[in-house]
């Protein structure tokens, strides 16, 4: 999804999906753990993922204002 799609929002959704997969691993392995460290780390991962999503969507909207598209294959560097 990160490599396949060319829309920036699609790529963000792919990042979010991978983050959730890693988080599911943390929770699932913390099931057999009596100290539950994976559960608490998973809660912090959730908050960090939300922060990342907010900042990334703000960046996407600003890039759309600048270039009138968010097609990742059409961004060119300026040099």
């Amino acid at each position: 999804m990160l490599i396949l799609k060319r829309n920036a929002i699609f790529v963000l959704m792919g990042i979010e999906l991978m983050l959730n997969a890693a988080n599911l691993n943390l929770i699932a392995f913390s099931r057999q753990d009596t100290t539950n460290q994976g559960l608490l780390l998973g809660i912090f991962v959730l908050v960090v993922g939300v922060c990342e999503m907010a900042v990334a969507l703000a960046l996407v909207i600003q890039a759309y204002r600048q270039f009138q598209h968010i097609d990742l294959g059409r961004f060119k560097s300026r040099n």
């Binding site: 963000l12 057999q32 922060c51 907010a54 900042v55 996407v60 097609d71």
Partner: protein
């Protein structure tokens, strides 16, 4: 086949199936709907892992917050480039499918190889009670410092994203 196993298989089917739909479709609204189904399945899997707190907060944050943010992003960056004004044209472009499939398969096979070699002996019996009071107590005693830090981080990220998203002239 116990009911627990059956519900686990059903939830895995929902989660992986809608993740694959999300990967396959080209319409970005269909992908948002599939992401909603993926998040529902993930919350069910959290419940099956005896992490009820995590399931409820995941539902609230992802279905109520992140998905709405993504829908706003889709609407604000909708580009009607195909020309036909009559229908909602939310179809996006893709690069070639060969390399992503190869890279994804390579990562998947590598992860399966590593996990199959792992030695998972000595697992303990999980306790099926609710972990709500445990999470509350340990967030305010043992993990108080990361809890405060994550609060400050959330505040910084929100202020920063509103500053980034405003009109710069």
């Amino acid at each position: 086949m116990t009911p627990l196993m059956l519900s686990f298989l059903a939830l895995v089917g929902i989660t992986c199936g809608s993740a694959l739909v999300m990967l396959w479709t080209k319409n970005i609204l269909h992908a948002a709907l599939a992401m909603f189904m993926t998040m529902l399945g993930l919350a069910g899997l959290y419940v099956l892992a005896y992490a009820d707190v995590m399931a409820v907060s995941h539902l609230m944050i992802y279905v109520g917050g992140v998905l709405i943010l993504i829908l706003f992003g889709i609407m604000l960056t909708n580009q009607n480039s195909r020309g036909d004004k009559d229908q909602n044209n939310l179809v996006t472009e893709e690069s070639s499918r060969v390399w992503p499939v190869l890279i994804g398969l390579a990562i998947f096979v590598g992860l399966v190889f590593i996990l199959a070699r792992g030695n998972f002996s000595g697992v303990e019996i999980a306790d099926p009670n609710s972990k709500l009071s445990f999470v509350g107590i340990s967030l305010l005693t043992e993990y108080a410092m990361p809890f405060e830090l994550v609060g400050i981080y959330l505040l910084i990220a929100l202020i920063g994203s509103t500053y980034i998203a405003k009109h710069h002239d």
